[in-house]
Symmetry: C2
Subunit: 497 residues, 2 copies
C-alpha cells in the first residue's frame, strides 16, 4: 500500500466544509458522514494512503457521538475503502475508473442487443385512449365497484397466505374457471393443467416464442397483422416472414411450406386483426394439417372472439382436431380492462407435460388476489353478464359508426370487418395517405390508426384507417366522421396540388 | 365439390340421437346444435357433400324455432363447413387431419425449444412457505390493511382511467418515489427516466438479458448463486460461466477476462445470495473498470440490501462511478410481499435512451392501481417504517436462530452471512449430504435449502444448509434446529455404515 502521508487538517476541513443535516435520527447522521467520506475517496479528494482524523477528533469537530464515527469507520473498513490499524485510519489503495477521461468511458460503453435495434419507436403505442383508437374497451362501462367487491372478498378469504408466490402456472381456481368458460364459449377442449396464466396477450406470445422456437427459426405472421406478434417474434430472434391476409383470413401460398418452412405460425382466426376476416374452416384444417406435416406450431390468438355481432360465435381452432399443435392464447385486457394484465395460454397436452419443468422454473405466479377475484368474477356469472352487456353496447356503437360512415364519408371507400370486435377497417383510395390522415386527426383529439402501419410489406390495399368504436359514445361518430372526411379530402387535394 | 348424396333421414336421426339440453337461453340451444353438426362434420359422420335437413324440418324435429336453425346454418356457412344453395344445404369438401392414424400425428409433433430442455425441474421452487425456507418474508407481519387502504385510495383517485394501459415503463409517480427512496437508502443516482417497473426481480433479469445480449454471448453468474439468474441467462440462450464466490464476494480470476470475456456479469454485491458475502470496494471498482474495458454489462442485484443488521447499510455499486455499465435491479417481493410482483430496473443513462423505443414497444405497463398504491405507500413514509419494523424483527429472529445453532447443532459447522437479510448459511462437514438432509427435513414440515443446489459446479465447501428465518417465529428455532441436528447425525451415521 502506498504511504503518501496527507495531513489530517485539510481532510478534516473538507469533511467539515458543509455541516451535516441534523434530524432526529442518528442513523441519518451516520449515513451522511459515510456518503461524504466515501464520495471524497471515490473522486480522489482523499487519495490512497491518506490518513483520516481519529474518531474522537472527528466526533468532536462534527458535534456527534464518537460511536457514530466509529460505526461509519467500521462500515468503510468492511467495504474496503479504508484500513484501520494501530497506526491510524488510512484510505485503501483503489483503482478509480472515474479518473479516466469521460470520452474514453463513453466509447467503452458496451453494445445493446441486436433485437433492441430492430424495433423502431412508434407513436401507435402511445398510452392514450382517444376516440376511434382501436383496441380500447368501454372503460367507463366497466363495473369497477363489482370488480372491487370481488377483489376485497379475495383478500378477505385468502388473507396473508395470498401474499406468497402461488402456483407458477397461475391460481388453480382461475385456471379451472377459464377452462369451463372456454369450453362453453369457445369450444376449447383442455384440462386446467394445460393452462398457463400470463401477463396479458403479450406475455402469452413471448412465452410461446420462448417455449417452442430457437434463435434463427422461421416464424410467419399475418400481414397486415397485430404488431405485438411481430415484436414477440423479433424478441425471440426469429426470422419473421409476413403472410398476406385476404377476405378468408391468413392466405399461405403452397410453396411457402417448403421454401420458408416455419417453426411457428401466428394467426388470429376468429377475427383477424385488423382486417376482421374470419379464417375459413377449410383453411383452418389445412393449416393444422400442414403444420403437423412440417413440424410447425400454431399460435391461435383468439382476439376479439368474445364480441361476435353477426350470428353465433365462431369456434376456436384449438378444439377442431385432436392433438393439433395449436397454442391458444387469450386475454382479459379487452373483455375486462387492459391494466389488469391477465391473459392465458392453453398448451397442447403433450407440450404442457414437456414444458412444465421449464415453466415452473421460469414463472413466479403472483397477483394472487387479482387471480382469485377473476376466478370468482367468472364463476359467479358476472363475467358472462358483463360480456353480454358489452356485446350489445359494441353492436350499437358499430351500427352508429357504420351509419356515420355511410352518410358522411364522401370519398370512395370499403368497410371491412365488423362481424366481431370493437373496430371497423375502412380502405381508402390510393390518392391519399393513411399515415398523414391519422397524424392530422390527432390534432382533433381522435386516434384512428393507419392500416398501412399494421403491414410489414404494405400493398396499395393496405391504405386505410382502423377505427375503434369500443370506447366512443354513439353521439360522437357523426362529428368525428365529418371531421375525418374533411381531413381525407384535404389530403387528396394536397396530393393533386 | 363431390356430390356423394346422403339421405337426410340418417343425418336427421344422428342429430336427434340425444335431445338438446333446454334451458332459458335460445343462444345455448343454437350453440349445442352448432357444436353437434360441426362435430359430426369434423369426425366424418357427415361426409363432404352430405345433404343436411331443411331448416324447417330440423326445427320441427328438434322442437326449436326455425330462426335458431337458420342462424346455426348461417354460421356453419360462414365458417365454411357447409354450403347453402338453392339445391339445399350440403357439407363442404374438407381435408380431415384427424383421420390420419394417431401414431403418425404424435410422431409429427414439433420439437420444443432447446432452452426449455436445459432446465431440470426442481422442488426448490415449490410454492410453500414452510419454516426455514429462505427468501420468505414475515408474511403475517405485513400491514395488509394499511396496504389495502392505499390500494382503495388509488382506485378512488385514479377511477376508470386507471383501467387503461399506462406508461409502458411504469407509473411516473412510482418511478419518482423509487428514485427518491433509492437515493437516500442505497446511494443510487438516477432520474425517473432510467427506471423501468418490472414483474419482480425475475422479469428485471430477463429484461437485462434481452436488452444487452445476443444468443451465444457469454454471461458470468455467481457460484454458488441465485438460481433465477441462471434461469434468466439460459432463457436468453447465453453461454453461462459460473464464477466462484469467496468471503469477499464474486471472485474473478484475472485470465477469465480474456479467455472467457463476458458480455454480461451477474452479481449480488450487497449480500451475496446465498453465502452472505459483501463484495469489497476494491473488487467493485475493479469489476466496473474491467467491464468498461472489455465491453461487458453488470447486473447488480441488490438482494436483501434493505435489511442490514450489522452497522450502516452498504451502498450500491450503481452510484460508485459515473457512467458505470451497471443495470441495478431490485424488487418489492421481500420488502413487501412476493405475490405483488413489482420490481424495478435502473438503467445507465445512455442505455435508457437507446433502449426506450424497444421497451415502449415491448412492455405494456399495467397493474396501475397497485403501482399507484405503492407510490403512495413509499411517499407517505409507511414503506420506511415497515422496513424499520421488519429489520428489527429479522434481527431478533436471526439472533434466536444463531443461539439455537450454537446450542443445539452439535456437528462441526460454520455459519456464514447474516450481516443483512433473512437467512444464514451453515456449512456442514462432508460426511453428510445436504440434499438428503433437506429432503428428510420436509417430512418434518420445514424447508431449509441445500447449499449445493445453488452451485452450478459444487465444491466440498458448498455442502450445507441455507436457513431462512424471515417467516419463522423465534420460539420455533430451538425445536427446529434440534430436529435438524438429529437428521444430520443420522445422515452422517448412514454414510459411515
Amino acid at each position: 500500500m502506498p504511504d503518501a502521508e496527507a495531513p489530517a487538517g485539510p481532510v478534516l476541513d473538507l469533511l467539515l466544509e458543509t455541516p451535516l443535516v441534523k434530524d432526529r435520527s442518528g442513523a441519518s447522521l451516520q449515513r451522511q458522514l459515510h456518503q461524504r467520506i466515501r464520495g471524497a475517496i471515490l473522486d480522489g479528494r482523499f487519495p490512497s494512503g491518506c490518513r483520516l482524523p481519529g474518531s474522537r477528533a472527528l466526533a468532536t469537530a462534527l458535534g456527534i457521538s464518537r460511536n457514530s464515527v466509529t460505526a461509519v469507520y467500521d462500515l468503510l473498513g468492511a467495504e474496503g475503502y479504508i484500513t484501520l490499524s494501530r497506526q491510524g485510519t488510512r484510505v485503501s489503495a483503489l483503482e478509480r475508473p472515474a479518473s479516466r477521461p469521460r470520452a474514453a468511458r463513453q466509447a467503452a460503453s458496451p453494445p445493446v442487443a441486436r433485437r433492441a435495434a430492430r424495433i423502431r419507436d412508434s407513436t401507435l403505442n402511445a398510452a392514450d385512449n382517444l376516440p376511434l383508437r382501436p383496441g380500447v374497451p368501454a372503460l367507463a362501462r366497466f363495473p369497477l365497484s363489482a370488480w372491487k367487491h370481488c377483489l376485497d372478498r379475495a383478500v378477505r378469504q385468502a388473507g396473508p397466505s395470498g401474499l406468497w408466490y402461488g402456483d407458477p402456472l397461475g391460481e388453480p381456481a382461475l385456471r379451472a374457471a377459464i377452462m369451463r368458460h372456454l369450453a362453453v364459449a369457445r369450444g376449447v377442449r383442455c384440462e386446467p393443467e394445460q393452462i398457463v396464466i400470463t401477463e396479458g396477450a403479450q406475455e402469452a406470445l413471448t412465452l410461446c416464442v420462448r417455449l417452442v422456437t430457437n434463435p434463427g427459426d422461421t416464424a410467419w405472421i399475418e400481414d397486415p397483422g397485430y404488431r405485438g406478434a411481430k415484436t414477440a417474434m423479433l424478441g425471440g430472434d426469429l426470422d419473421v416472414i409476413p403472410m398476406r391476409v385476404d377476405d378468408s383470413g391468413l392466405s399461405v401460398p403452397e410453396r411457402a411450406w417448403t421454401t420458408q418452412t416455419p417453426r411457428l405460425v401466428y394467426t388470429s382466426p376468429s377475427h383477424q386483426y385488423p382486417t376482421g376476416a374470419v379464417l375459413t374452416a377449410a383453411r383452418r384444417l389445412d393449416l393444422i394439417d400442414r403444420a403437423q406435416r412440417h413440424g410447425a406450431w400454431i399460435i391461435e390468438d383468439d382476439y376479439d372472439s368474445e364480441y361476435r355481432h353477426a350470428g353465433e360465435l365462431v369456434g376456436a381452432m384449438q378444439g377442431l382436431v385432436p392433438d393439433a399443435p395449436v397454442l391458444y392464447g387469450g386475454t382479459f385486457s379487452k373483455t375486462l380492462f387492459p391494466s389488469l394484465r391477465l391473459g392465458f395460454l392453453v398448451l397442447p397436452d403433450a407440450l404442457a407435460a414437456k414444458a412444465a419443468p421449464w415453466l415452473r422454473e421460469t414463472l413466479r405466479g403472483g397477483h394472487r388476489y387479482e387471480q382469485l377475484a377473476l376466478a370468482q368474477f367468472i364463476e359467479s356469472g358476472q363475467f358472462s353478464r358483463h360480456l353480454g352487456r358489452m356485446r350489445r353496447l359494441y353492436k350499437r356503437r358499430q351500427d352508429a359508426l357504420r351509419a356515420a360512415l355511410t352518410q358522411h364519408l364522401d370519398v370512395p371507400h370499403v368497410v371491412a370487418g365488423g362481424d366481431s370486435g370493437m373496430h371497423l377497417t375502412v380502405r381508402l383510395p390510393d390518392d391519399c395517405l393513411d399515415t398523414r390522415i391519422a397524424e392530422a386527426a390527432r390534432a382533433f383529439e381522435m386516434a384512428p390508426m393507419p392500416l398501412s402501419r399494421f403491414a410489414l410489406r404494405p400493398l396499395p390495399e393496405d391504405n386505410g384507417l382502423v377505427l375503434g368504436y369500443g370506447n366512443t359514445s354513439e353521439s360522437l361518430f357523426v362529428p368525428l366522421v365529418q371531421r375525418l372526411a374533411k381531413l381525407i379530402a384535404a389530403d387528396r387535394q394536397e396530393g393533386k396540388g
